[in-house]
Amino acid sequence: MLLNPLVLLANFILVPGLAYGSQLALGALGVTMVYAVLNFSNFSHGEVMSFGAMVTILITYWLQSIGLSIAPLPTALLALPFGILGAIGLCLLLDRLVFRFYRHQRASSVTYLIVSIGVMFVIGGVIRFIIGPNDRNFNDGDRFLLKARAFKEITGLSEGLAIKSSQAITVITAVIVVAAIFWFLSRTRTGKSMRAYADNQDLALLSGINPDRVVGITWVITAGLAAVAGTLYGLDKSYKPLVYLHLVLPIFAAAIVGGVGNPIGAIVGGFVIAFSELLLTFAYKKVAAYLFGEGFFGDGLLQILSTDYKFAVSFMILVVVLLVKPTGIFSGKSL
């Protein structure tokens, strides 16, 4: 019976990997956009994600208090536009107060990086100040789209396949957002001017592209992506400010693995990171039992790395990629 092990893999690797990969891809897309247009690695991106998610949560609480809901979908989807607006406001404000000065100075990318660390501190502090450092679960929609038991009853298999509704929402939203971004970049005049600016700033200026406008739009898109990614991550797992600080590294890993500055690379990188985290820390014992019979490989868990190292996998991939091909899979800077 080959179906049982396949369902097992789908349940523990394919479905969560698709959801986590979409979240990473959205985050990495934001990092890559800032890198392509503004030329620096934005360490504060994780906190912008967290900020967007926080605004969404607060609005969700308010909507719940006035009794508005779109059940079975989580109320947070209704509040998400406000979260996006909040993140956009934050990014434009930061650009005006902080980053613009360094842009006009043509500061080096390391200066930018240190500045973004300062920004990270401030946003992180503001977030903890407003919402506190604790865990928050704000998903009030239906928990499962497909329950493991229902799946077993329908198919008659002994392994179940469960799909959380937050996972489905994540993947669908990510597809919509990514499609919109690519349409914007390739079809609209503004998108084309952005690509031109990223490609060659001086030539873009010569052809009459307004740099402030391009930079502003970049921040708007980045902030929107960050708010969506942050909310989806919070919806899927749970919202905790500290987590977003740690999420920055897998996101950077995704962006670098795919080739920083390349949007397709960011998406591929997100899925590469997500799936390798799951593939390397999954215990294959049960799969092997189905395929080769119980106890064929002894009684080990058949796990390549212990689950403790789940997060560390992305850093290892990052290091290997930097060693072997620092330019990433889709090398070259292009938007």
Binding site: Q105, A107, V115, V122, G125, G132, L249, L318, P326
Partner: protein, 457 residues
């Protein structure tokens, strides 16, 4: 931050004291202000707190000296401070704790064999990578095969031994233990550990662009922390190692010592308080010796030909290269030296705490905060780095009570039970993050050369 951007924004300096003051007078004033702030804590809060602050300030100063060696002298962005500090802490455990013979008997051999297999695998890979260049795509498959075989062999050797070691009295030991040597030796060994790690990291990452270097070192430091957190046979992991021996006397012994009881009446202090103060003073003395030694060494290095060469490389790599300087190996050298200093500080920190807690290593506290110290203090100036370590640690700790005091004062007009007031007071502790971020941003914008700017030589 290259030289030109430092110069163009020099006119924005508003935080620095008058520029026409001689440098040493300004430094003296700044040092006196810092001393006053610490003694203010002593008078207002307590002297015990003031001296624990001082001890942590000294350790922070050493860490930021290490970062300054890398960033200020050579312009290398090391975002892996946390990892090197943790390796120093590991040295303190491995050197000072008593060995656990039962654990060694249970699994020492297996672990040793596994580590040998691991090293052989790594060497085989490096050899293949270098030698099989002509093989094209085949090389990747060969390397993949070596990794799979080597890794599964290593796991075969290690896994049963790890289980056996962790089963040895898990509540008390469950790890291999250390060597049982005096802990003060571990300060040196911690430096060596960090230096060895830095050599490997540097060989991997130093060729990268500066922001990639930051991300790579950040990632590697996270990997180091994960290993320390989850390899229980080595560090007891999240169970922590408690009760590390001390290089200074214990409070209880002091309280019972005859000479101590004799001199106590001369001071206006209870015996408990006096003993813990004396212990802290002993630590301060030891730390001060280390700090001054490192400063003396790095100042004389910076003044000598080596320092001139490093600055030349930092300011113009191409020209230095053309003059026949080996930029890559100089970078590696300075990276190793700076990391060693961080490792020393890491070992000192664990010594002071008396325990090793892998979960306490957070990038915010151990990497980014140290960076704030260096930038605020003045990158490229050792005294600046030291002052930065003092000031930033002081405010990192004190911004909590200050923030609480400020918020209580500002909201005193509200009703005592108003939800906003309660919320603000409850979250006052988080003002420290905002303060640190603002201090960093304001320094970068208006005084990018820091409190004590680099001296032009």
């Amino acid at each position: 931050m290259n030289r030109s951007s430092r110069n163009t924004s020099a006119r924005h300096r508003i935080f620095s004291l008058p520029a026409d003051w001689p440098a040493h007078r300004r430094n003296l004033v700044l040092a006196c202000i810092m001393a006053l702030m610490l003694s203010f804590v002593g008078f207002v809060q307590s002297w015990n707190l003031a001296f624990s602050l001082l001890n942590m300030c000294l350790i922070s100063a050493i860490m930021s000296l290490g970062v300054n060696i890398q960033w200020g002298y050579a312009g290398l962005f090391n975002a892996g401070v946390m990892g090197f500090a943790a390796l120093g802490g590991l040295a303190a455990v491995l050197l000072s704790m008593d060995p656990v013979p039962a654990a060694w008997a249970a699994g020492g051999g297996g672990i040793g064999l596994g580590l040998v297999i691991g090293f052989v695998t790594i060497y085989a890979n490096i050899y293949l990578w270098k030698q099989a260049r002509s093989q094209g795509k085949k090389r990747y498959w060969m390397i993949g095969l070596v990794i799979v075989v080597g890794y599964s062999l290593m796991r075969q050797a290690i896994d049963p031994s790890v289980a056996a070691i962790e089963a040895v009295d898990p509540a008390m030991t469950g790890y291999l233990g250390g060597l049982g040597l005096p802990i003060i030796l571990s300060w040196l060994v911690g430096g060596l550990f960090a230096a060895a790690a830095a050599w490997v990291v540097g060989r991997i990452a130093l060729g990268l662009r500066s922001d990639y270097l930051a991300i790579a070192t950040l990632g590697i430091s996270e990997i180091i922390i994960y290993v320390l957190k989850f390899e229980d046979w080595l560090t007891r992991g999240v169970k922590n190692v408690n009760g590390l021996p001390r290089p200074v006397p214990y409070e209880v012994d002091l309280q019972e010592a005859a000479w101590f009881q004799e001199i106590i009446p001369q001071f206006n202090l209870s015996i408990v308080e006096a003993s813990s103060l004396l212990v802290k003073l002993c630590y301060s003395g030891l730390f001060l010796i280390v700090l001054l030694t490192i400063i003396w060494l790095s100042e004389s290095a910076l003044r000598g030909p080596w320092g001139r060469m490093m600055r030349a490389i930092r300011d113009n790599e191409v020209a230095a290269n053309a003059m026949g300087k080996n930029v890559t190996s100089r970078h590696l050298q300075v990276f190793v030296l700076g990391s060693a200093v961080i490792g020393i500080a890491g070992a000192m920190l664990v010594t002071l705490d008396g325990q090793f807690t892998p979960t306490s290593y957070q990038p915010l506290r151990f990497t980014f905060l140290i960076w704030v110290m260096v930038i605020v203090g003045g990158s490229g100036n050792n005294w600046g780095a030291v002052l930065g370590g003092f000031v930033i640690w002081f405010f990192w700790i004190e911004s909590e009570p200050i923030g609480l005091w400020l918020i209580t004062l500002l909201t005193s007009g509200m009703e005592p039970a108003h939800w906003l007031r309660l919320h603000l007071i409850e979250n006052a502790a988080h003002t420290r993050l905002i303060t640190m971020g603002l201090v960093l941003l304001l320094t970068l914008r208006f005084a990018p050369r820091g409190l004590i700017p680099e001296v032009k030589r």
